[in-house]
């Protein structure tokens, strides 16, 4: 650990919440330059141990409670792991319905991230008055834009609720399939909402592209550390969120891993534990720690894939690559890739709903415990998610291991925070603009936070600038 007596620290506490609580510490060296910046996670709930001794069939419902923002991702990864333990393949209709709910969740989560959390900074500027830099400020000044965001998120949530009965922690994705089939009425209701949802993303994309030139500085300093990228792709190289194979590429597109079965993810990914955070930091074992730094999530998914696999999103992807190059590296481009991916998810939902099989009433396979071990992998809104369980003969969980998106982005997030801090933090003073940018670089990754905060108010901040003996030199609270 850094010697805290001889260095000076700036503590931003709290910065935001990632699956709970977190804060940032910026360490200055004797010359007053930024030596390091760290993003800490300080909440501890201990799911991996808490589930020991519980029946494996309960895992989807229990694990969903890890996160109220992406519970569907945990339901899916957990259910897939239990499918493997039962040695069953869910019926085809069930697979389509699980995909449908997963896509709906990605749409609502991306809408929340882009419109509710990040767009106020993008529209009003990073130095704008925090009193209006939130969703309700948008409603006043950019009503169409804000309404698009609210409507898009509500659409995703509504689909989840139509399918699962509630928006948060629906108990509908179950081992072996889903709990109930899709009726023709619900199918038509979802399909009926898609064109409008697609138009709102297209409007946002058009605005984003027209504004892109104005963010050259952000693009240049926000997390441009070269990293590898990891995610799922279909065997023929399309973006994939539910099944497929793992692919990892280097910053320039060099293939590090390809066609890795999802069960093998733990072979490719190592987890380091840093003394300063409860969040584990993942790295690619092929490259070691910390050289194996990599990113997951929309930017990674688009970079590793050859194409989106849906017509309108593929046009957008071609344009994105024309503007940014084949392998954009700046984490600022999480925003752009998130929008293109949202469009693609909506197109895929339409496609899924057109399949005659989607309303088939056979949606669940049942079985007992047929294997002692199972791994479930899926793409969550923020990146690749893995659940791995080992059970005893009676099906009680003996061991559980999770790899979550935010842990995989952890090293890159730290590098991004450091880069922004080095650019904006000056030893003798703290500015609001600096805080906003540090906060915003973290938002690019959309770490699993309870984003509701930013929708209505600004993020509370407490920054301290400390001298060599630990005395407070400057303090900023908002």
């Amino acid at each position: 650990m850094t010697n805290e007596i001889t260095t000076r620290r700036i503590v931003i506490d709290p910065v935001t919440r990632i699956e709970g609580h977190s804060k940032i510490t910026i360490t200055l060296d004797e010359a007053g330059e930024v030596a390091n910046a760290r993003f800490h996670v300080t909440q501890f709930r201990g799911f991996e141990r808490m589930v020991h001794g519980r029946p494996v069939h309960e895992m989807p419902s229990l694990m969903a409670r890890i996160c109220g923002i992406c519970p569907v991702s945990h339901l899916i990864a957990a259910s897939k792991a239990v499918d493997a333990i039962m040695a069953v393949t869910p019926p085809p209709a069930a697979l389509r319905l699980r995909r449908l709910m997963n896509l709906a969740q990605i749409v609502q989560s991306h809408a929340l991230s882009f419109f509710h959390l990040s767009s106020p900074d993008l529209l009003f500027g990073f130095d704008a008055d925090p009193a209006k830099r939130h969703l309700y400020g948008l409603l006043a000044e950019h009503p169409q834009f804000a309404r698009d965001g609210i409507a898009l998120r509500r659409f995703g949530q509504h689909v989840i609720e139509l399918l699962g009965g509630k928006r948060i922690h629906p108990a509908w994705i179950v081992p072996g399939g889903v709990a109930s089939p899709l009726t023709a009425e619900v199918r038509d209701e979802i399909a009926g909402g898609l064109p409008e949802a697609i138009e709102s993303v297209v409007r946002a994309l058009d605005w984003y592209k027209a504004s892109l030139a104005g963010w050259a500085e952000e693009e240049a300093v926000w997390g441009t550390t070269p990293t590898a990228f990891l995610g799922l792709v279909t065997p023929d190289g399309e973006v994939e969120h539910y099944d497929g194979v793992l692919r990892a590429i280097g910053p320039d597109g060099t293939v590090i891993h390809d066609e890795i079965a999802p069960d093998d993810v733990e072979r490719c990914v190592g987890e380091a534990v840093e003394p300063w955070s409860y969040l584990k930091s993942s790295y690619l074992t092929a490259l070691g720690h910390p050289e194996g730094i990599y990113r997951v999530g929309p930017l990674a998914r688009l970079n590793i894939a050859d194409r989106m696999g849906t017509p309108r999103a593929d046009e957008e992807l071609a344009e994105l690559r024309e503007r940014l190059g084949r392998y954009p590296s700046s984490s600022f481009h999480y925003h752009y890739t998130r929008l293109v991916e949202t469009l693609s998810c909506l197109e895929r939902m339409a496609h899924l709903l057109q399949h005659p099989e989607v309303t088939d009433v056979r949606v669940r396979a049942t079985a007992g415990i047929n294997r002692a071990e199972g791994v479930g992998v899926a793409e969550a809104p923020r990146g690749t998610l893995m659940h791995h369980y080992v059970v005893d003969d009676g099906g009680l969980v003996q061991h559980a291991n999770l790899i979550i998106a935010t842990g995989q982005n952890n090293l890159a997030m730290n590098a991004g925070v450091k880069q922004v801090a080095q650019r904006y933090v000056r030893a003798d003073r703290l500015t609001e603009g600096m805080l906003n940018r540090v906060e915003a670089v973290i938002r690019c990754y959309d770490p699993c936070l309870s984003c509701s905060t930013h929708a209505v108010g600004e993020m509370p901040f407490h920054v301290q600038l400390r001298g060599p003996a630990g005395e407070v030199l400057d303090e900023l609270v908002r």
Partner: protein, 256 residues
């Protein structure tokens, strides 16, 4: 209340699902916005608590020494304090660890447990400070949240249900799972609010809304045994999302 009443939202150890339920009240919330000023404090430190607040919604349970201190500060600054969700009202799913050895738990999850600063147990807000209203559920229902807010604003009593999930099944016309299929269900002892969601998918209720008032858990556990459900399964069933609620914990302890 001078000016608009001020509402604050606080987060302790939780998944954020309950706070999000507030955000999900979008349509209903917009009219409320003219009547209430919302100040969110996801993880405020002592220096920035400000206040006072007319209403504080508290999500999450207390699991660290820092949280134990912070909840006192929140109470001091709040006229009305409402605990929202299974975490805040019972200790939540993370209270599962209350029966485990915390040191061992930390070692399994975290390679450097010496840096963990955590309490032995996950406890509800009411174990630390006085709570004015509790909204149960994992997550809470939007309807109950809005009703409680409106009740506080207009000075009436919130209309929180006294009945069980069973009653909701009856109202929906869902046939009883225990009677028709012999499936173990916690509906008879679980507070209404979810609309009997799980039974409508042929799943027994697993009690995520927590115990109803005066639940007859012993009678239900007896019925489960008659259905052939082993004691350890009965014990586990009562020890899930709201297993630290006294009525459920005591019943659970009786079975293993």
């Amino acid at each position: 209340m001078a000016g608009l009443p001020k509402l604050a939202v606080w987060k302790f150890s939780s998944c954020d699902g309950c706070q999000l339920s507030l955000l999900h009240c979008e349509d209903e919330l917009l009219p409320l916005l003219g009547r209430i000023e919302i100040a969110y404090f996801p993880e405020a430190t002592r220096t920035e608590l400000d206040g006072p607040y007319d209403v504080s919604l508290v999500e999450g349970s207390v699991t660290t020494p820092e949280e134990a201190e912070r909840i006192e500060a929140v109470r001091d600054r709040s006229e009305v304090l409402v605990a929202i969700g299974a975490c805040a009202t019972t200790g939540g799913i993370q209270a599962l660890r209350n029966s485990a050895d915390v040191d061992e738990l930390a070692r399994v999850v975290y390679a450097h447990p010496e840096y963990l600063d955590t309490l032995e147990t996950s406890s509800p807000i009411s174990a630390h400070v006085e709570v004015d209203h509790e909204i149960q559920g994992c997550p809470i229902s939007r309807g109950q949240l809005l009703d409680t807010l409106l009740a506080i604003l207009t000075g009436r009593r919130p209309n929180l249900p006294q009945s069980s999930v069973c009653m909701e099944c009856k109202m929906l016309g869902t046939p009883c799972l225990m009677v028709t299929s012999g499936i173990g269900c916690l509906g008879p002892v679980t507070q209404a609010g979810c609309g009997a969601l799980c039974p409508s998918y042929d799943r027994g209720c697993f009690g995520c809304y927590g115990p109803k008032e005066l639940p007859n858990t012993a009678a239900l556990a007896g019925r489960w045994s008659e259905l052939g459900i082993p004691a350890d399964a009965v014990a586990r069933a009562f020890r899930t999302f709201t297993g630290n609620a006294p009525a459920f914990r005591e019943e659970s302890d009786r079975h293993g």
